[in-house]
Amino acid sequence: MSTAIKVSGLNVRYKVDNKVINAVNNVSFSLDRKKILGIIGETGSGKSSLIRSLNGLIKEPGIVEFKDLQILDSQGINNDFKFEKLRGKNVGFIPQNPFGSLNPIYKISKQFEFVNKRHKIYEISEFNFQVLRALKEVGINDPERVANSYSFELSGGMAQRVVIALANFSNPEIIFADEPTTGLDVTVERQLLDKFFELVDSNNLTLIIVTHDLGIVAQYCDETIVMLNGEIVEKGSVMNVFKNPQNEYTQKLIKASNEEIS
């Protein structure tokens, strides 16, 4: 099994009013191809900062440092690492909160066109068909209507499906998802996640998903990282971590979520 992503010694700091806040502290991990990694942690544990830094999205006043960051393609080659080159082509990103993730002045089909133009994926003759296929793939039943809509005409769940379809449209190998279901209600969340993981599975994608829902991690992920105050407190396969948590914080988390279920 080849490695898809390798991170070592990653730090993310924010400098606000001469105070330095360490959001992510000396984080190292690696993930194999076609695996799903779930990052869990409470609000403010640095999980969003971590995944955003992996896509070069941390803006000022944030500072990102790392000893080594490698995002490898299917041949395991990592020639001149640049976020600009990886984005879209190798790495897709699904942000938090679908509202506002789509440009309000363009129709959905137009936004697919932008991605297609940038990465030259499909011929113009098959483009329309491919858009409809991509929308169907994420569980949209009336893709024609959605393709001809503006983002504000869609519900939150629909918009997030479109965002997922867009992120996957350029056939990336790795997808980062930053709490992709916040702001959606529970039934929609389940439907969307089922479709999403189906898509990840059928396209052989490597996925890193950030969430605070242990149920999602237990159900869908292969590996997990538990974060607290910007540090990894526990990592390993989902099976090991959930069956036999070593860290006190992880034990508490799992106990709390079990209580919630029963």
């Binding site: 999205l57 803006k59 990103f93 506002g100 309000p104 002045i105 992120a167």
Partner: protein
Amino acid sequence: MKIENKQLNFSNLIITFPILILLFFSFGSFFITFQHDPYITDIANRLLKPSTVHWFGTDEVGFDIFSRTIVAGRIDLFISLSGTLIALTMGLPLGLLASEKSKRAERIMKVLDMFQAFPLLVLAIVIVAMWGNNIRNVIFAIVLINVPRFTRLIRSEALTVREKRYIEVAVTMGASNSRIIFKHLMPNILGSLLAQASITTAHSIVVVAALSFIGIGVVPPEASWGSMIRAGSQYMTTGQWWTSLFPGLAILISVISFNTIAQFILRKYESI
């Protein structure tokens, strides 16, 4: 849905009036053959009341006010429109540059602050007085006044749009910097930009009129609303009201027209 469409059509109809008025002032003089040449004085017929012969009357040197009011529109609107457009094309790249978080952006804003510290009309007077009394310098003054305004507006609009999540999503899909600016930033600020351009043109009309009122910029025999008002102002108290009234009305109508257009654009963009 149907009601919405009707409302839209109604406002579409309303917007044609100011556009027609402005078109008439800008190009009308090229197509109308005037009864009286706007550039020929007729001392024998000075200060005539409005009549069927001279629709708006004549002024102190016997100029026909009707033909001059329309010819002046051509010049005044040309100056304010071209000044605004040049300011817009200069302010747009400056504003987009200034919306970045960099040392360069800070420097741009500092220079603009310096310009805006001057009282604008005084600045315009100084420029025209220093570099000569011609139309080119009036346009230059209007550009100088308005570039900081446009830059500021575009910067603040671009700053809010830059923070929008769809910009970030576009970045994660591999959109280049120039693509972000041209395809995502600019179309999203276009509405307020056009509205501001329209308001600026209205304001520029007043500036041009103010300049020619105090006798700089467009000077007689070239017609200008400001200079016509000034020429007539001394006769207001003796009862010859028409000399200043009609060019004044022309200014009022064209300023209202531009403001209406601005409002229309804003409303149209807000509804999206």
